[in-house]
């Protein structure tokens, strides 16, 4: 009888939670920026979710629930690294990116001149990895995991207005970075 109860839980878990494993792995990779840490983070998250599966309410957003566990695991595991994190403003970020650019002497990016159609995937990746953690995290949740602002706010335990402003500033930083990459390749003047 115990085995039966155990296997029912497993079947439900495999149906509800395991389809999100790739999404969790992507998030783990992007959060930790290190394949080894991402693997540990994913395994820890799935096992913890299984252990606490009775706390999940069927019919609610399972991916958001799993991402909450992932994010909390990440935050716990990287506590000291988080503390050292310096929050950049978009202006600081712009200066940093401009400093990296071969054409760093140019005037600040003109948004009109951006050609997003021509950016390379690895540039998107590099720009995303270069964002300060709090901006990278909201873009991962909203753009990649397709959570709405309310869900992201709950997960991160921050006000919804903060999510909104971080999304806006995060995308602004992405544009700045992608613009700098494009200029470096001579795509945009």
């Amino acid at each position: 009888m115990e085995d039966k109860r155990g296997s029912e839980k497993r079947v439900l878990f495999e149906r509800e939670a395991l389809p999100h494993v790739d999404a969790l792995y992507s998030a783990a990779l992007r959060l930790s920026r290190n394949p080894d840490d991402a693997r540990d983070l994913l395994q820890e998250t799935v096992l913890r979710a299984y252990r606490f599966f009775h706390q999940y309410t069927p019919g609610t957003n399972c991916r958001a629930w799993l991402l909450t566990i992932l994010y909390n695991n990440f935050r716990n595991g990287y506590r000291s690294a988080d503390r050292e994190q310096v929050s950049l403003t978009p202006e600081d970020f712009e200066r940093a990116v401009e400093g990296l650019s071969a054409r760093g002497d140019r005037a600040p990016t003109d948004p009109e001149a951006l050609v997003l159609e021509h950016v390379l995937d690895q540039e998107v990746s590099a720009a995303l990895d270069g964002l300060p953690a709090e901006f990278r995290t909201v873009l991962l949740l909203v753009d990649v995991q397709e959570l709405n602002y309310q869900e992201a706010a709950q997960l991160l335990e921050i006000p919804i207005g903060t999510v909104k402003s971080r999304v806006s500033r995060g995308r602004q930083m992405m544009r700045v970075a992608l613009g700098a990459f494009a200029r470096r390749r001579g795509l945009v003047r």
Binding site: E2, R5, G6, S7, R10, F13, V21, D22, A23, Y25, S26, L29, R30, R39, L42, Q43, E44, V46, L47, R48, Y50, R51, F52, H54, Q55, T68, I69, N72, R75, N76, G77, R79, P111, E112, L114, L116, E117, V119, D121, V124, S125, L128, L139, L140, V142, D143, V144, E146, N148, Y149, E157, K164, V167, S168, R171, M174, R175, L178
Partner: protein, 290 residues
């Protein structure tokens, strides 16, 4: 609305479908539709914002989990399903006793109340302990024990201490500074050394501390939570010096609720219950302030 206002306050939320109906209306008025009305510049910015979203999703979203990692996770899930290896105590197989996910049987719950009523030292602990009609305890108690058992299983293979020194006083000081109780089990006389300690946050944001002890045959993990309200789970198999003993998920557990009810402490070990009882009889409390 001018362009700057649109781009600063509306653009991202517009692309995300997060505008209120009123904002949506105001944004539509600014953007307009044709080449001559509204703002073609902001319209292209909106298109670009959506493209950026798609680029981010494409780049970061479609990563397949390596098959070998999936296999490893499935094997770990199988391991949880099986529970820890069964051990024999006398003729009883502990795993069979410990497996139930629900705090039964009723007879055991009833026994706990006899114990609680008989043991005056425990008064105050059981004010929330009334079982429901079927003898199932309130959820938080089970979560506290689940968390303890889960952590034990995790930490047995990999424990990353957050306190660099392994001395009891360094650990107690760290707990104290994190506003957790600085009372630490000293299991030295029972033959256990401290491996290290760790302060974490539970998914609900509350702090939790872990102290891992290593003995000759087994480890003991002390998991401590802050709590203002805790239902003592029924089903205890015994009591020692005011600590309640449980067999749960195949592990031996010792649950303590602090006198003022501010902390719950759960000792978890894979040792048989009589062994844990013996260890506790030899244990001392270590504290800086007392």
């Amino acid at each position: 609305m001018n362009c700057e206002e649109y781009i600063t306050n509306y653009l991202s939320a517009h692309a995300d479908g997060e505008l209120t109906p009123e904002e949506e209306h105001a944004a539509a008025q600014h953007l307009g539709g044709g080449p001559t009305d509204g703002c073609p510049k902001c319209r292209s910015r909106l298109a670009e914002e959506r493209l950026l979203k798609a680029l981010i999703k494409r780049q970061a979203g479609a990563i397949k989990t390596p098959e070998e990692l999936r296999a490893r996770i499935n094997a770990a899930l199988d391991q949880i399903d099986r529970g820890p290896p069964a051990r024999r105590i006398g003729s009883a197989v502990v795993r069979e006793l410990g497996r139930p996910r629900v705090w039964v049987p009723l007879a055991a719950a009833a026994m706990l109340f006899v114990v609680l009523l008989a043991g005056g030292g425990l008064s105050g602990l059981h004010r929330h302990a009334e079982p429901t009609a079927n003898g199932v305890s309130a959820i938080p108690a089970r979560e506290a024990l689940d968390q303890a058992v889960y952590s034990y299983e995790t930490f047995e293979t990999a424990f990353r201490p957050t306190v660099s020194s392994y001395s009891l006083s360094a650990i107690a000081m760290d707990y104290g500074s994190a506003d957790m109780t600085d009372l630490v089990w000293n299991l030295q006389y029972a033959g256990y050394g401290v491996v290290g300690s760790r302060i974490d946050q539970l998914p609900d944001g509350n702090p939790v501390t872990y102290t891992l002890y290593h003995g000759r045959n087994s480890d003991i993990l002390c998991t401590r939570y802050k709590a203002s309200d805790f239902a003592v789970p029924p089903g205890a198999v015994g009591e020692i010096h005011g600590h309640l003993l449980y067999e749960y998920e195949g592990y031996s557990l010792c649950v303590t609720v602090s006198e003022k009810g501010h902390f719950i402490c759960v000792l978890t070990t894979s040792e048989p219950m009589d062994r844990l009882r013996h260890d506790i009889s030899l244990a001392r409390a270590f504290s800086i302030v007392r």
